[in-house]
Structure formats: C-alpha cells, structure tokens
Symmetry: C2
Subunit: 442 residues, 2 copies
Amino acid sequence: MPNSATIHDQAASERPPLRIAVAGLGTVGAGVIRLLEENRDLITRRAGRPIEVVAVSARDRNKDRGIDLSPYRWEDDMDDLAALADVDAVVEVIGGSDGPALTLARNTLKRGKPFVTANKAMIAHHGMELATIADSSDIPLKFEAAVAGGIPVIKALREGASANRITRVYGILNGTCNFILTKMEAEGRDFADVLTEAQAKGYAEADPSFDVDGVDAGHKLSILAAMCFGSRLDFGNVTTRGIRAITAADIREAETLGYRVRLIGMAEQGEDGLYQCVQPCLVPAEHPLGYVPGSLNAVVAEGNFVGRLFFEGAGAGDGPTASAVVADLIDVARNEYGPAFAMAVETLEALPVADSGGRSGKSYVRLIVADRTGVLAEIATAMRDAGVSVESFIQRGAQDGAALIAMVTHEGEARAVADAVSRLTASPNLLGDPVVMPILDL
Amino acid sequence: MPNSATIHDQAASERPPLRIAVAGLGTVGAGVIRLLEENRDLITRRAGRPIEVVAVSARDRNKDRGIDLSPYRWEDDMDDLAALADVDAVVEVIGGSDGPALTLARNTLKRGKPFVTANKAMIAHHGMELATIADSSDIPLKFEAAVAGGIPVIKALREGASANRITRVYGILNGTCNFILTKMEAEGRDFADVLTEAQAKGYAEADPSFDVDGVDAGHKLSILAAMCFGSRLDFGNVTTRGIRAITAADIREAETLGYRVRLIGMAEQGEDGLYQCVQPCLVPAEHPLGYVPGSLNAVVAEGNFVGRLFFEGAGAGDGPTASAVVADLIDVARNEYGPAFAMAVETLEALPVADSGGRSGKSYVRLIVADRTGVLAEIATAMRDAGVSVESFIQRGAQDGAALIAMVTHEGEARAVADAVSRLTASPNLLGDPVVMPILDL
C-alpha cells in the first residue's frame, strides 16, 4: 500500500516549480537538499507545486558532503545567485552575521526575490534593514530556522498566537548549554569537565563562547521579542550572561531548594520598555522548562487571551533545521507570507530599554568565602546595608579552608542584590566570583 | 509610554475591514467579541486591516451574556448570515455536528465566503464535504480552535512541520479527562467522586459522556490525522475507550511501575493503513505527556526530519478558544490560507483501517478477582494459552475477599492480551470488568 509520502498529485506536480538556489553546503545545506529529495512528492502536494533546487554554491566545490550534488548546477558566484534567470528564490545557510550571507541577502531581496535563511546572527544584527527591503516590495524574508531550529515557533507566535498581546516570551534557546547543564545535573560534574566532553563529541564548538556565553541565545531572543511585541529588533540591548561560572555545587544547592539551573532567554514588554536578558536562572522543578532534556530547545509565550503556550523540540541539527527552512519554502511556494516581522516594519516600535535593576523577584546568591570568624557577619551586613532580605541561608564547608554560602533572597529588586554583592567583592574573604541567579517564579 | 497593543497603524486601520458575522454567543462567541474589542489595534496591525463584527446571531436574543452587544446588528436568521451584503466572513461558535452549525457552514461556503469555526464535531463528521465546497472555489475554511483550543497546533502541523512526513501524532486532547485523571492521581480518589466534583465546579458537563468516553478527543484526533497524513478524515474509524473504568488503584499501580495514566489519542500511519485510537494509556513518568497538568492539552508529532515536536497549552475556555478563532480570522484578512486540509481535498488519500489487534507493545492488565485457591492458576493458564508473556505481576488483597491483580506483559500483540482477558471473562472468579491499558513506550 502506498503511503502518503509517495502519493502523486498530478495537478500540483505539473504546476510551474519554485526554483531555488542553495548557498552554503554544510550539514544544514546538505540537509535541505536531502529533505527536498526524500520528501519530494509530499512537499509538492503541500506546496501545491514542486520545489526544485536548480543551483548550489559554497566556498569549496570539492569537499565531500555525503550527498550527490551532480543534479544541481554549481555556481561559483555566491554573491548574486538571485541574478540567475532561472532562480526564483534563494536559501542561505552559510551563517555569519555579515560577509557573504549578508551580501547575498541584500542582493536577493533587492532583486525582488524571496530569501529564506537559517541565520540567526544575521537576522539579529541586520533584520530591520533586510525587512525594510523585503517589505518595501512585498517580498518574503523568512527565517523560521533561525530560532529554536525545528520548532515552528516563529510560525506559532507570528500567526498562531497573532490575536494576543504577548506579554512575555522566554525559553531554552541554546541546546549546547542545556546539554551541558543537564549533564552536570545528572552526573554531578563541573562545567569545564562536561564542556570538554561535549567538544570531543561534537556537541560543542572548539570555540564555545557563542553558545556558553549566551550570545547565540541572545540572537534568537531578540528575534522572538520583535516578533512578539511588534517592536524593532534590538539585539544590541540584550543582556547576556553565560553558564561558565555555574558549578556542580550550584546545581546541587538549586536542587535541594526545588529548582533546576537552566540558561533562560527572556523578553518582556513592561511599562518602562523592553527587557531582554539571557542568563542562567533557577527554574522550579515542576515548570515545563525544568523538564527539557539534553540538547532540546523550548519556548514559552504568554498571551493575554491564550494564556501560556509551551513548545519543545530539536533546536539544532541538520534534519530539524532543514525542516524549518523547507517549511518557509513551502509558504513561499504557496504565496502565503506576510511582512517579515508580522507587521509592516515601519510600524514596529522602537521601545526604550527597561531598567533591569528594577526587576523584582527572588534571587539565588552563591559565594565561596574563607572559612574565618567574622565572614558571616560581613555577608549579613552587606545584605542588610543593601536592603536585601534573606529567605534561606546555607553554609557548607568546602575544601581548603573555604566555605560555600548559598542564599535565597526574599522578593526584591535585582539592583539591591547586585549592590549587596558589590559590597563584598573588595573583601579579602571572598574567594572567586559570586554567582547570582534570578529565581523564575512563573 | 504606549505599549504595542495601543500603537496605531494608520495605513492598516484605513484599509477596508474584514467584516464578520458571529453565530453563537455562548462563552466562546462572547470571548471572540471581547478579544476583537480588547486587542483591536494590535489585530489591525497584524492583519494589515481592521476586523469588524457587523452582525451577531444566536438562539436567544435576550439572554444576558455579560458583554455589550449594542454595537452589533442582531440577525434573527442564523442560517444564512453570509447572504448579508456587508458580511465578508462568518464565524461559527454554535457547536453541534449538524443542525444550524452545518446549515450555516454549507450556506456560507456555497456563497463563496470564508468560514471560521471552533466546531470539532462538525469538522469530524462533515469536514470532507465542507472542504470540498471550500477548495472548489478556493475559499478559506479554517478550524484552528477545533483542536486543542488555544494551542496553534493545526497551524504548526499544517504549515510549521509541512516539510515532514509525519509518522505519528498523539496527545492529551481532552482537558476534562486530564483534569479528572491528574486529580485522581494527586488525591488518591476514585473516578466517580472526582467527576462529581468537576461537574459541581463546571469543569465537566452534566452529561459527561462526550468527554469521559473519549468522543471529543476522537473528533480532534481524526482532524489531526487528516492534517498530518494527507489522508481523508475518517472519524468513523476512530476507536474510543474512555476513562470511566480507571480506579485510584490503577493509578497507584501505574505509579509504582513508573507510569502515569492519561487519556491518549493516537493516530499513526503504518504499512497496513491508518490507526486511530483514543484510550487510557500508561505514559512513562518522564515523557512530556506525563507532566501535562490539570485541564491543559498537549500534542506530540513525530516528523521524519524534525523529530519529536511537543506543544502544550489551554485546550478549552473562552480566551484560548477565541485566540484560535481570531488567529484564523487574521489569516483570512491577510489572505494567507491554503486548502482546508493542507492539500487539495480530492488528493487526500482514503487509507484502509489498520489492524489494531496487530499493534505490538507492553500492556497493563488489571483484574479484580475472588481471593480463592486456584484463581492464580486460572489467570496464569489464560495468559499462557493466549500466548501472553508476563513481565511483572502483583497481587494485593482488596476488600471483602477480593484481590487486585495488576500485570505488565512483555512486548506482544494487542490481540493476544485481548484473547487472554476474554478467556477469563466467563470465570465466576472475575469480579467486575478487567482493565487493559497499553503502555506508551515512545
């Protein structure tokens, strides 16, 4: 019995195809080509017409990519694939915020051809410029794959939740960090140790800073925020704190308090403007983000009518990313697309930056201190003088005459906690950098 | 500072509005009107033009609905709101698989006007007929609100995951059942007891059979299946088993085995055809469906490139349902819609019904038996003769000379377990109906 993937839609397959050029033939580019090949009949049915790769381009023509490129014309000039008469749309999976990807994006949109990309860095940095070109001629600029990989979260927020005022969007936007944190949690190991293993296995880059310092999650967060709030994309004002300072001890203390440590990107539109921050947080163990395993991604959005929506899936990898790229292509083929950021780019609002110090909540504070008389009083004084009220306080003996102090504060302003910690940084009793993490109470 | 909900898009607000009629003014109808009012400016920006209610209709004009209906023209004739010259599209939130809802749907689509509905029963029973009318003139027929309430799961599967061959879709599709099961679990109470409370609080209908017997979940499942597999909607072949027979003891036994009892709707496209079943299952405690709290809904879809996607949110209620209805209206206003079932209705495949007896897996079997000599041998013999291999077996003393037997079988065909149980049904030692639940190992 034939299954639906092999059913043939005569009418659809005879319509003029959407002819595309693919720029970039790394794992994602190869994945896109493999997907278009493997699910060809199904895609033709869903798109109402065939989607055909007519040209490909990448830096190195001779690299073995594990796929047969012979059916596709090779183009040396990557900069202007859109100039080719038989190319209707361009897929960019080169990566990098500037350089060839940006040149290609500008050239494609300026020629009035649809542009589909998986490039979060480029959209985060140049999304407004590109959307302005795209919207001015009603050309599709699509980037589902740029946020949370295979999870159709752009689609779900831009269209599925479009009736709502979204008040807050947050989630686990970097799979590498979630892999590291959940592994540290499961095995009681420290950051550096797990990172080394992740690098050896190819789960983390040789230079891991984009991931572990929160930059990659910040790119995605800024895109989500613009999409949700109808505001201008503002990556420059995303605060990012990474996970390098988190220790196995932090994760253990969080656990005894009923929390899990996760790298959370959060954007919120408040009275005083737009708050955008990527940082490790304590997430209640019963919150859906507390369960997200391994390298998965997850996004939570809160709408004023729909309430809380939660989406989880693979945030990276060739298959999931290709799935998102091709979904965008199907929208293009169907001629179902709107403005790149859901509303006309010139109507997106330039929101002021919210005062993050004024954010209220509980915080986790962890210090490593010299195990000496008077240290406790010094900490308690700093807390009191900064106006921070402590809800719980644990001191544990650490190694070599050091002690670990883990506190949870009562609800209060973030700036007060920062003030308290800064009062201690000059102290000779403080060993190493303090760790402060907000407690997510959502 | 104005927030984005109150930003005004001059150009969009001056474009010709999408003028709609709303049929049905229960909680959902009132919610749609309240949402269109409250988020008016935002919706205009997202839709690119205003969405205006021009006419309303319901059975009883004089009922107090807690909203001001005076701005809207009342129409007594609900059957043909589409005949009104100033109505561009019709929203149906009356409910019921036939009767006025169906008449209105047919009349609206035949007049070539878009039709948006929250009516899962009508789509499950008449979706193919309505889609045929809609597709023949390329008219939008939209029903996001019909499945999983506010979760934009139709959008996510139809468009977000459109590049994938979906192999399996399953989830918690009825909030009332999930509310009852999670409450039974948390409080150790029995079904009837919790149902009575749920009815008193308005969480369950006076006649709860649509919910607790799995019919409502079956409606939604049949819609999901057609959307995912490109197959003709086939509600008539959805097998439904409800949750009435589940006891507090079942939930307790499941828990000791590491599982939770959930009502799961599952559709799968296999070699031998389409499998569609709603039934209580044992879900691993660490599976995302095991965490879905209270009355929420959740859907899992597995695609051949994207892997596993998980969506969770409110499956009912006026706000979430209105959110989905208005998202559909925004798509209509933007002119972004495709065939009702993602591909031309005449190309949807009529799949044969898969043999559910041939499905392989572990099963949970629970019996209440008379606590007499020889009963154990009787059960063991029935299992052996039916070819069922038992992985774990617990006997506990129950009340009044009865014993509870809870077994988990090894992997095997469903028909063998059914055969074993049928061998026991004639036994005078069997007290009450046996409960068989498949164990979800996904």
